[in-house]
Structures are given as structure tokens and as C-alpha cells.
């Protein structure tokens, strides 16, 4: 989570310097991403949306590979096949159908068919998301949908996007679903581990809706101060899952200053390398 935060911060900095064209920050969503990625393990194929940077790093995407597409060098900077972390898809929810189709294709060929599809709350308004949930349900596809609900579809708040939770909607399609707070990576891990066991055991889809905060705007081109109250942004920052978890672990004596310093040094080195490559 600290590494993802550091890389994200560096990418934001690089964008401000003009070295990146755009950056979609994942700050505030690290616990959701790290908890879910660790829970499913390295085996399933991941169909991300476009801000699953912490998942990408855990899957072995190098920081310079992660930012390459945002610097205009490529449409995908990493090796999707080797990492089983497929390219970012910028057309909302288009990847949800690919994920289900891929899982069915794998199953038909007698291969590992566990697929994880990441999607944001805004993208769940797209027809493809509903179609993918229905398809996964009727075909009993081994797909874990992870919806990170950060409360905003750019400027449209979640309560103006939907009348039920995404989890309730999934249940309407006949998909087991659960809603969990994205504040604590351990809670996310537990929920996603149960979900993954269901997908593997029953060979049927599952949806985990993780409520997260969005610390920065939708993208570096967004100005959330225009539509979000100062208090709301301040509250989200105060509930930062990264600092909260670090503090908690330190308080429990599970990590010490030396460990945190070592991580800090690693992050500094990664940031420096990114800066050299892109600035």
C-alpha cells in the first residue's frame, strides 16, 4: 500500500511537470486493491478498469511499465499474458464482458477459468456491466467482480447514480454479493478470500462491492474542488486507509520505525527511477 501510494504520488508529480499526459490516481483505494489482489492470489487472470495501480504492482508490473501509457508511449506498458494482468480498458465496463467471455473460453479449453474483473461505481451504469453480470450468472462463469465504489462518477455522486447498492443489484442477477468497507485491507482480504473460495468451489460468479474514498479527482484533469465540499474532501483525506493501516500496525507493534524507514527508502528509490525515466 505504501509503495502504491508512493508510485501514485510520483505519477501525479510527473503529470504536473508535464511528463505524463494524464494520471488516474488510486489514492484512497489502496486497501481495497491490495486486500482483493492478495486474497485471490497470483493465479486468476485480472481484467482491470484503469486505476488498479496497486493490483498492477502486486502482479509484477514495474512502475515504469505502469506509467508508460500515460506518457503516450504505448497503449499498454506491460506483458499482459505473463502477468495475467490484462491491459487497462478506458471504455467503461467494456472489459466486464471480456472477462466473462475469457473465463468461458478458458473453461471450454479445460484451463484455469478464474477471472477477476475490476470495475468502478460509475461504470456500473453502463449496459455492458449489467449484461456481463447476467451472462456470468446464466453461464455460471468463474468470475469475481470487484467493484470499487469511490462514491463518485467524476462529478456525479453515487446516490444520484443508483437506488440500490451494486451488491444488491448483483443479487438481482442471481449473483452472490457482499458489500464491505475499503478502509481496512484485512476486512477486504477476508471478504475477497470468501468470495474467491465461492468462485473456485461453486464455479459461479461473485461480486464484492468495496466502499472506498477518492482522495484526488477522477483524473489529473479533474478539479473536484468545483463540485465537492472542502469538508467532504478533508474527511476523505483524514480517513486515508494507507496512513490508518500503517498507524494501526505500528500501534500493535507489528511494524517498527526501522521497517517503515526501509519501505520509505524503497519508495524513494522507485520514485527516483521513475523520475529519471520520465521527467
Amino acid at each position: 500500500m505504501l509503495v502504491a501510494r508512493g508510485i501514485d504520488e510520483e505519477a501525479r508529480q510527473l503529470q504536473k511537470q508535464g511528463a505524463l499526459d494524464l494520471w488516474l490516481s488510486c489514492q484512497g483505494q489502496e486497501a481495497a486493491q491490495v486486500g482483493s489482489a492478495l486474497a485471490v492470489g497470483p493465479q486468476p487472470t485480472v481484467f482491470p478498469s484503469y486505476r488498479e495501480h496497486a493490483v498492477a504492482l502486486l502482479r509484477g508490473v514495474a512502475p515504469d511499465e505502469l506509467v508508460a501509457q500515460w506518457a503516450g508511449r504505448t497503449f499498454c506498458g506491460w506483458d499482459p499474458r505473463r502477468l495475467r494482468f490484462f491491459p487497462y480498458t478506458l471504455v467503461l465496463a467494456a472489459q466486464t464482458l471480456h472477462g466473462v467471455g475469457y473465463s468461458l473460453g478458458q473453461r471450454l479449453q479445460g484451463r484455469e477459468d478464474f477471472v477477476v474483473v475490476y470495475v468502478g461505481d460509475g461504470a456500473t451504469s453502463e449496459g455492458d456491466m449489467s449484461e456481463a453480470m447476467n451472462l456470468a450468472a446464466v453461464e455460471s462463469a468463474s468470475v469475481l467482480f470487484v467493484c470499487q465504489n469511490n462514491g463518485w462518477a467524476i462529478s456525479k455522486p453515487a446516490d444520484e447514480q443508483m437506488r440500490t447498492s451494486v451488491a444488491e443489484r448483483a443479487q438481482g442477477f442471481g449473483i452472490e454479493a457482499v458489500q464491505v468497507s475499503g478502509q481496512d485491507p484485512e476486512a477486504v482480504f477476508s471478504a475477497c478470500a470468501r468470495a474467491a473460495a465461492h468462485v473456485r468451489g461453486v464455479r459461479a460468479p461473485y461480486l464484492v462491492e468495496i466502499e472506498v474514498g477518492r482522495i484526488h479527482g477522477h483524473s489529473t484533469s479533474d478539479a473536484q474542488e468545483v463540485y465537492r465540499s472542502r469538508d467532504d474532501i478533508a474527511r476523505t483525506r483524514a480517513a486515508d486507509p494507507v496512513t490508518a493501516y500503517a498507524d494501526r500496525l505500528a500501534g500493535l507493534g507489528l511494524v517498527d520505525t526501522a521497517w517503515l524507514d526501509a519501505v520509505g527508502a524503497e519508495v524513494r528509490e522507485l520514485r527516483e527511477r521513475l523520475m529519471k525515466e520520465y521527467a
Binding site: 497503449f75 467471455g101 471450454l108 451472462l135
Partner: protein
């Protein structure tokens, strides 16, 4: 002069080809609405589910984006999906998946995957279809880089195109004229083979004027050409593909005849004919003995069945146009 021959209908030909492809390649599967139990609304896939099973001949949900979207995922997993959309007018919900996804996956993956994915679409009018059942949208996808668009007018061409499409490594949309599905009497064609699976075919040799055309209306063009035979010697180029276009064959033909008429069923404005005319103006202007002309419906919605004869290009109009151009 009765210059027609009896041949199997297009539906039967495509059925035979699909069966053979399923037989040969275990990675290939069919996906579409009502294609399994029913055999498709046009029975193009009749008997295939019984023969190859429900895993490989899949009755899809009634959602076109679902069909193409899952096919993209299946192609990523190494399968070769051949999708069927029920009618051309119902293609639009799948356009996003085709244009922003299927067409771009290869590039997005830096060439690491090359999905072979075929979308078969029954197209065109002339059979008293109700609203949305008679459209011709080939120009829509011809504009989309990364998608190849085929418009066969015979079973033999559809066979060659399909066999090529399933190995191409990028998406192919194949338009199948509905009014040819069961038509068995078709105008005589020169047996000259195409130079390659993606090239046009000269289906009638002539010296006075070239007609470039494709799809169902190829038959009306041939009928007109045969009828004009004693007065004007018309060469007919069946393009077979509208993206990419085989302009070499068109330009070579125009170099011989000096005149070009383009005939198609899709509406004229910003259509396939406009592209051909522009290319000939750019690269074949010196060969022209007169202006290039287009014969295609005006830019308006396909009308109710009672008015489709006014909309469609008929044999008489083609003959009249040729006579004007060669006067």
C-alpha cells in the same frame, strides 16, 4: 437471353462452410441468437448444434454487446468465435465492442494477441422486411480501422471469405444478403478466379464501361449487363470486400474501359462508392473518358416495405445509367 444458372442458396452454402470449419478447427465456435436449437432465423446454422454440441454452437442471450463482448474475451483465450447478429439493424448495440474493443485489442496488446473473430450479419432489403430488418451498414465498419468488411454475393465467395477470416488474426464483419439466402437462380458469372481471398473478382468481362459493385445488388448489375450485351459491353467487378478495398482491380478495369459506375444498396452519401470514386479520381483520372457516377439510394431511412422498390436500385435504373454514360 436467359443467362441464369441454378446454384445452392447462400444459406445452404454458408452452412456447409461453417460445418467444415467446425470440423477442422476445435478452437472454432459459433455464437448467436437462436442459432442452436432453431438453427438461426435464416437456418444458416441448421443442424450444427446437434452435430457439434451446445458448447460449440451456442445460443446466446438476446444482447448484441454481450455476443461480441464475450467473443472478444473468448478470442483472448485462444478460441475463434464466429458470431451471428440476427439482422443488420440490430448491430448497433454491438458497435462499441466491435469498434473500441475487437478492432483495437491487437494494438493494445502490442501484437501479443491477434484475435480472429468473425461477425456474420444478414443484411439488405428486398424481402418486405419490417423496420430495421433491411439495412445496409457496411460503410459504418469500413470506416473503423482494424476491422475488415466483406460483402460476398455468392456461396463460393462466402466460403473463401470465411476460411480466410477465421485465420486473419483481426476481426472481420461479413455481410450476408438476406434476399440471396434462398435464391437459387442467379445470373451467369465468368468463372475467373479471384487473385487472392481478399481481392475483388471480375465476374463479367467487358470493354465499354466498368461497374464496381458488391453484395446482393451484384445480381441486378449482372442482369443489366447481360441485357445490355448487344449494345454496350459492360465489365462487372464484384468487390467482395469493402474494407480494405481492392482498388488495384478497379483501377486496372477502369484503365481498360475508361468509364466507371459504382452501384451499391447502402445509401450514397459518404458511402463505399464515394471512396472508390475518390480513389479513381486520385489514381486513375487519366484513364477516364467521362465522369465517375454512383447509383445508390438517397440518404434516408429504409422505407416501409410498400416503398422499398423505390428505394432499391433496380435492373432498369442500372441499364438507364449505363446508357447515359456511354451515349
Amino acid at each position: 437471353m436467359t443467362s441464369t444458372v441454378r446454384s445452392p442458396g447462400l444459406a445452404e452454402s454458408i452452412n456447409t462452410t461453417l460445418a467444415d470449419l467446425l470440423e477442422q478447427d476445435p478452437r472454432l465456435l459459433l455464437l448467436g441468437e437462436d442459432i442452436g436449437r432453431l438453427g438461426g432465423v435464416f437456418r444458416v446454422t441448421r443442424g450444427l448444434q446437434e452435430r457439434f454440441g451446445r458448447d460449440r454452437v451456442r445460443d446466446s442471450l438476446l444482447a448484441e454487446s454481450t455476443i461480441v463482448g464475450q467473443a472478444v474475451g473468448m478470442a483472448m483465450s485462444g478460441l475463434v468465435p464466429v458470431c451471428e447478429i440476427q439482422f443488420d439493424g440490430f448491430t448497433y448495440p454491438a458497435v462499441n465492442q466491435l469498434v473500441t474493443q475487437a478492432a483495437r485489442i491487437g494494438g493494445r496488446w502490442n501484437g501479443q494477441v491477434s484475435p480472429s473473430l468473425v461477425v456474420r450479419i444478414p443484411t439488405g432489403g428486398g424481402f418486405r422486411g419490417v423496420e430495421h430488418h433491411s439495412e445496409s451498414n457496411e460503410a459504418l465498419f469500413a470506416r473503423a480501422p482494424g476491422i475488415s468488411v466483406a460483402c460476398p454475393s455468392t456461396g463460393e465467395d462466402a466460403d473463401q471469405i470465411l476460411r480466410h477470416a477465421v485465420t486473419l488474426g483481426s476481426p472481420v464483419v461479413m455481410y450476408e444478403p438476406i434476399r440471396l439466402y434462398w435464391r437459387r437462380n442467379t445470373p451467369v458469372r465468368d468463372p475467373e478466379p479471384a487473385r487472392s481471398p481478399t481481392s475483388a473478382r471480375i465476374v463479367r468481362r467487358g470493354s465499354d464501361l466498368t461497374i464496381a459493385t458488391f453484395g446482393a445488388v451484384t445480381h441486378e448489375v449482372l442482369e443489366a449487363a447481360h441485357a445490355l450485351g448487344p449494345t454496350v459491353d459492360v465489365e462487372v467487378v464484384d468487390l467482395r470486400w469493402v474494407a480494405p478495398l481492392d482498388m488495384d482491380t478497379v483501377l486496372e478495369s477502369v484503365a481498360r474501359t475508361g468509364r466507371l459506375l459504382i452501384v451499391h444498396e447502402g445509401s450514397k452519401d459518404v458511402g463505399i462508392g464515394a471512396e472508390i470514386a475518390a480513389s479513381v479520381a486520385e489514381h486513375g483520372f487519366d484513364a477516364l473518358r467521362g465522369p465517375v457516377r454512383r447509383l445508390a439510394p438517397d440518404r434516408r431511412a429504409y422505407p416501409p416495405a410498400d416503398f422499398e422498390k423505390d428505394y432499391l436500385i433496380g435492373v432498369q435504373e442500372i441499364k438507364d445509367e449505363v446508357l447515359v454514360m456511354t451515349k
